[in-house]
Structure formats: structure tokens, C-alpha cells
């Protein structure tokens, strides 16, 4: 391939973040806005994960019967992966709170348009 997997994954993350910011800025529907925000979070997580990737490496799980030297030289870097687990859960919970607020606001205004609800 012309570009390696890590670089491609970083580009994908960047594209997701850009799509998300674009959506959060220009979409008027609140639920779509929240979905766009979810994409920004996904992009940041993907970015973090692709940092730990090692070309030609193996998964960082030490299985019985594996040679220690082989593992220590080829395993990918697990720290970012551990962080992403937390980050995914935080993102999902934030999303849930936002959707809850949107449901309440829909009852009040009968609309989920950002310009109607969140205007001045």
C-alpha cells in the first residue's frame, strides 16, 4: 500500500474530527449535532489507539508459551489502549445526558431545532 496503516488510521481520525466539528457547527437539528459530537469523540479515541499501533507487531496480551523476548520486542504499546477504554465510556455517558436534556427541551418547546431553542 502507498501509506502504512498507522498513518491511514491517523488520517481517518482527523477526517472524523473534521466531519464532527463541521456537523456541530452547521447542523441545526440538535440530535444530529449530538451525533456529530460523538464523531469528534470517536476520532480522538481512534487517534489515541493508532498511536499504540506497531507495524508488524503482535497484540499486547502475554499468552502462556510465548517467548518473553519475542513479546517485549513485538508487542504494541498498551498504555493508550487502557486510556481509550475510559474515554469511550465517558463519551457515551456525556451523550446520554445530552439526549436526556434534549428530550426535556422537546417537551417544553415542541421542537429540536437549535436555532429555536438555543438562540438568544
Amino acid at each position: 500500500m502507498i501509506i502504512d496503516t498507522q498513518l491511514a488510521a491517523l488520517f481517518t481520525a482527523g477526517a472524523l474530527i473534521v466531519i464532527g466539528i463541521f456537523g456541530a457547527l452547521f447542523l441545526d437539528n440538535l440530535i444530529k449535532k449530538v451525533i456529530a459530537l460523538a464523531f469528534i469523540g470517536d476520532g480522538a479515541n481512534l487517534f489515541l489507539v493508532s498511536l499504540g499501533y506497531k507495524a508488524g507487531g503482535i497484540v499486547y496480551i502475554f499468552l502462556p508459551g510465548m517467548a518473553m523476548s519475542n513479546f517485549s520486542q513485538n508487542a504494541s504499546y498498551p498504555l493508550p489502549y487502557a486510556l481509550v477504554l475510559t474515554s469511550i465510556v465517558i463519551g457515551a455517558s456525556t451523550m446520554a445526558v445530552m439526549l436526556g436534556i434534549i428530550i426535556i427541551l422537546n417537551k417544553k418547546y415542541g421542537s429540536i431545532s437549535a436555532s429555536k431553542i438555543l438562540g438568544e
Partner: protein, 112 residues
């Protein structure tokens, strides 16, 4: 017509444009005036810090900004209208700020 009346009239005009029909009270006008003076004086003082970079640049900029401010005189009502609670404008400024910060840090450090 003294200066206070001119300012009061200007504020009223800007209020008209935005469709804000609250009466302009004395306190509101005088606080607008205070804010205006504070804003202008602090901008002009802040420009003087540029002397550490380049003295000529500072003088030119100070004069330029002074003239610009004088032309756009009641700044405060415009500033207040700009900084409202609407999500669109907040989003806009946030993204602009992100762009400015990244550009400044990235290019400012590489090329200084």
C-alpha cells in the same frame, strides 16, 4: 448638544437596530460609557507592551488603533450584541479561537 447626549443617541440607535425596546435608563447609559472608556483605555495601554517587540511598530499600531476606535466609536453596544447567549455565535467564536491558537503556536514558534 453635549457629548453625553451624542452617546445616548448612538446607543439608542443601536438598540433600535437590534429591536431591543427597553428604555435606555441613566444607569444603563452611564455604565455603557464606563465600559467603553475602560475598554478603549485598556486596549491602548495593552498596545504599549508591543514596545518590547518593536518600538516603531508600537507607535504605528497605537495611532492606527486609536483612529480605528475613534471611527467605530460606541464599541460597547456592538461588543455586547456580539457576545450574546446564542449557541451559534458561541460556536463560531470557539472555532475561530481554536484556529487562532493552533496557528499562533504552530507558526509563531517555528518562525520566531
Amino acid at each position: 448638544m453635549n457629548i453625553y447626549d451624542i452617546i445616548l443617541k448612538k446607543i439608542k440607535d443601536i438598540r433600535m437596530e437590534t429591536g431591543d425596546n427597553k428604555p435606555v435608563t441613566n444607569i444603563a447609559a452611564s455604565s455603557m460609557l464606563t465600559a467603553e472608556i475602560t475598554l478603549i483605555s485598556s486596549i491602548l495601554i495593552a498596545i504599549v507592551i508591543l514596545r518590547l517587540l518593536n518600538k516603531n511598530l508600537m507607535i504605528v499600531l497605537a495611532v492606527l488603533v486609536f483612529v480605528l476606535i475613534f471611527m467605530a466609536m460606541p464599541i460597547m453596544p456592538k461588543l455586547k450584541r456580539e457576545q450574546n447567549d446564542s449557541l451559534t455565535s458561541m460556536n463560531f467564536y470557539v472555532i475561530i479561537a481554536l484556529g487562532i491558537i493552533v496557528t499562533l503556536f504552530y507558526w509563531g514558534n517555528l518562525n520566531v
